[in-house]
Every structure is written in C-alpha cells, then in structure tokens.
Symmetry: C2
Subunit: 310 residues, 2 copies
C-alpha cells in the first residue's frame, strides 16, 4: 500500500512514494515544462511510474495520487497558477485517464499544512495556521480540522494582508502587503541595506566573502554577535508578528506553524510565541496560541500532497 | 412550533419568539444585570415566558432557546464576556434547568451572521464574512457553511487586525487595530475633526443644530453636498476596504455582509464592492467578492440566536 505525492513547483516537479506512516520511500524529479499542462501531466505520469519502481513497489500497490499545485485549485481543476502557466486545467481527470489511478489535487500551501497536521508539528491539532516565510509569505488554515478553501479555492492568501501604511507597492498591485515586510526576501533586503549603510561592519565583511548579502549572511552575522543583525532581527520579528497576531485574532488557532528556510533558525522562531500572545486579544483570559517551526522540511510538499488520497 | 432567541447585550437583554421562517412573533426586553450571571439567567427565563405569552403561543410549542452573548463562547459555556462581567458561566445547563428546554449559546456576532445566512442577505451562500461597523468592528466568518469558531470559540476578532502603522493605540492594547479606523466611532471622530477645523462649514452648522457631531450629522452633511464630507467619506471607505481586502484574501468569501447603522447608508456601501475587488489578489482571474449591506436590521441578534436551535 503506497500513496504517490506530486509537488508541482515553478522550477521542478517532484514525485515521491509515501507509506501510510508518512515515510518517503522514493523521490524523483524533473524540470517543470511551463505553459504546457498536457506535457507536464505526461511527465508526472512518467515520474509516478519511476517513483513506484524506485520504492521497490508494484503499480498495483498505489492507492492514489495526490498533487500540490502552485496556485488556485477548485475541486479537481487547477484554475489559476501563473508561475507555471496553467489556467483551468482539468488535472485529476487527465492524470487519472493516463494512470488508471484516482487523483486528487490541492494548493501547495494547503498540502504543506496537511503534511504538518498529519505527520509533523501540527499533529493532533484541529485549529492550525501555517505560515511559510519564503520569497513571499504563504498561508494556509485548518479550522475545526477542515482546510479553509474559500470560494473557488482562492482562500489562504495571508501574505497579501495589509499590515502597514508606508506606501510600498506589492507585486500584486496592493500597497503594504505583509509579505513585503515578513518574507525571507524582506530579511534579505534588510541585510543588503545594512551592508550598504555600514560597509565596515560584520555583515558587509561576510557578504563580501560569500559574494552575496543573503539570509545566510544575516544569520552568520547574528551568530557572530553583530549588533546590526540584532537590531534588524528584532524589527523583522515584529513585522512577522504583525501578521501572526492578525491571524491569531481572526482564526484563534491552537498553533501557528512557521515554515520556510529561515524558520529553521532557532533565534528567529523562539521569541515569536511570547510576542504573539502579548498582543493577541484577551490576553491571559483567552486561549494561548502556540508558535513553532515546521518539522516536515523540504519534503512536506510531496508528503502533504499524498495525504490528500490517504 | 416556535424558537426563542435571546440577545444579551451590555445594556439590555432582548428575547423574541421566532417561527421557522424567521419571523419575529414577539419581542420583550429588560435592563441587563451586570456582573451577576445567575440573576441575568433568572431574568432571561422570565423574559422567555413573557415572549411566548406575547406571541400567543404555549410553552409546549417552544422547540429550544438560543442565546447570543457579547464575548467568547466555548460550547455551552460563556467563558469571557467583560462588558457584562461573565467568566466561565455554564449558561446552557443553568437556563435549561430553569426552563426545562434545550438551550444553545453562541457569540453575538456569529448569531448575527447566522441570521443573515439563514434569512437575510447571505441566504444561499456558504463562504461568508460578516463585518459590523459599530462602536468597534465585529467580524464573523462562515467557511464551507460552518462558522469559524477557533480554539475555545475565540476566533472572529477581525476588528483587531493591524491595517496601518500610524502608532495609534487600541483599547485592546495593540497598535493600529482596524477598528480604530473603520468603526462608526472612527467616522464620528472624523466628523468632530472637521467641525473643529472648519467651524463655518456645513458640518459645524449641523452639529450645532443637533447638539452633537454624530454620524447622523455626517450623512446629513454628505447628502447636503458638503465637500468636507465627500473627502472624509472617501478616506473612511478606504480604511474600511483595507480590512475587507485582508478578509477577502484570507477567506475568499463569496460575499461580505456589512452590518451596523452606517451600513444602511447607500453612499457608504455602494462603492465598496468595486474597491474591494480592485485590490483583491488575482483580479479578474480569481472569484469575485460581493459586498452588500445586512438586511436583518436590529433584530438579527434575536433571530440569529434562535437559528442555533432550529
């Protein structure tokens, strides 16, 4: 008995065989063919067969295929996924016709949340917010054990909450979206600004060594005791907390799980829970909101996609 | 067959008999006894009997009692309602013991949404946001036909989203909560500011006549063609839209219903739908969000409370 998980990204498509305990038995991938859903679906079918073979399993063992797509998913249809150029793609019917197996599809952020809820940090919780700090800020929500999908599956775009009034324009067209301030990209912009303002500081030195004022440089400087990094970290954490408290007040999850590379940095995550609860409505009179790092790592997308058919 | 709805407010308790079509057959009320839940529950039982009598019905016709409380409700317990001084009140068991009838209780904003969803503006919709512009801003959400309750029933506090970074402190302790800018109180503060800055203008004249720079004065000035009122209305509407778009991006409701006295003003409500959709993520590629005024009026609290036992 195995389940196949398909993680469709803007760069690559990853497919894995997963057992019912959430273990990844195999993993194969290829470059995503853009703007050509039929070609991509053919490739996915091929990768599925390959993943089964590499897991030393037989095709008859496959209980279903679950996929995560980087965009809006309405039932069986990927309605809107700009990075890969899919609009109104009848994904489940097409992949099922090729493979002969039942197929489910969902938004990739929702899949990551499903992975954490079934096998990771959010196991046993039924009111959960997941926030991924990456190029942008992705969000997904479980309320009473059910994913919040919204009309046409378009819910969960918390990165595009307005949390400030500074007049900065987001790529979505709106002013002052949360992801302008709370994404890993925002932390990188802070790093670049410090390098510019303080060319003799630790960060500038590290950026020169690494060839780039990256998030990695930021955390290296922080761990080396850089004062600039301390100041920036506090401000960045408050920017993250602005949106987390909005989420806490709106959804009152038991738990907010933070994903993305920078969530693995303990000094990034540790203070957030106390900061969130000190601002959340009702204080000690209302339920506490836990804030912790995701535990499923890079394979959350594959495993969570497979959870949809478990 | 009748249902009793109980609307517990900070000033008064209102009880009505409601039929299964949502018609209010009778309505009685009394002053809320504060900080004394047992006394309040005794009073509610008395008002229930009175409401049945005034509806020309018999006690045996009562199918259940539903109540809406101004605070956090966790299952059968009102856990936290500061304005009336209730903390951990075992409401349903107590009222049921006195009346011999099954009792349900919920948060009052959720009850108003239930009224709109079953009998009012949101009939037939399953993804709905309700936003009430009053002293503060109240919110409630239906996702896939289910109320979002959150951990311990504490969800739905959208008035305490941060939407700006101006440094104004909310009564909840947080900076720049939406309700500081989008409540009816915020519109009244704008009116007072105009009266102060332009003492010879239409608003100042009307405020003097009415003895108060109220929301009523604002809309009278607006309807009289006052330019100050036009400017303030546009700014205020944008402040309202800031939070509505956050809600649209997070929940993607089919419909946002706006309640509260100022929602009855057509010039207040009419532009909001276009403003919301112009900022919401995905533009024309994603599902449209309708924005309309509530239709259940002042009795939404009673009727929605009763919906809980229908």
């Amino acid at each position: 008995m195995i389940y196949l998980g398909v993680d469709i990204g803007g760069m690559s498509i990853k497919v894995g065989a997963v057992d019912k305990a959430g273990n990844l038995l195999s993993k194969v991938s290829d470059v995503t063919p853009l703007n050509d859903p039929d070609k991509a679906i053919e490739l996915i079918a091929t990768l599925c067969r390959e993943a089964v073979k590499q897991a030393d399993a037989r095709w008859e063992d496959v209980q279903g295929i679950g996929a995560g797509a980087p965009g809006t998913v309405d039932g069986d249809i990927v309605t809107y996924a700009t990075n890969i150029g899919w609009y109104g793609v009848d994904f489940c019917a097409k992949l099922s016709a090729i493979t002969g197996v039942k197929v489910a599809v969902g938004n990739d952020a929702n899949c990551a949340l499903l992975a954490e809820a079934k096998f990771g940090a959010a196991r046993g919780y039924h009111d959960v917010g997941m926030v991924t700090l990456g190029t942008g800020v992705g969000t997904a929500f479980l309320a009473g054990g059910t994913l919040i999908l919204g009309n046409g599956g378009a819910a969960g775009e918390g990165g595009h909450m307005r949390t400030k009034s500074l007049g900065n324009r987001c790529s979505c067209g709106r002013l002052d979206c949360w992801e302008l301030y709370a994404s890993a990209s925002a932390l990188q912009r802070r790093t670049q600004a410090v390098v510019g303002h303080n060319p003799t500081g630790i960060m500038a030195k590290l950026a020169k060594e690494r060839g780039k004022a990256s998030g990695r440089v930021f955390f290296e400087a922080l761990n080396a005791g850089d004062k600039d990094a301390e100041v920036q970290l506090k401000e960045f954490q408050q920017d993250v907390v602005d949106g987390l408290v909005n989420i806490a007040n709106l959804f009152r999850p038991q738990l907010i799980v933070i994903g993305g590379g920078i969530a693995a940095q303990p000094r990034m995550i540790a203070p957030l829970e106390e900061m969130v609860n000190s601002e959340t409505l009702g204080g000690a009179g209302n339920p506490h909101v836990k804030v912790i790092a995701a535990t499923m790592g890079n394979d959350a997308g594959i495993v969570g996609a497979a959870v949809q058919v478990m």
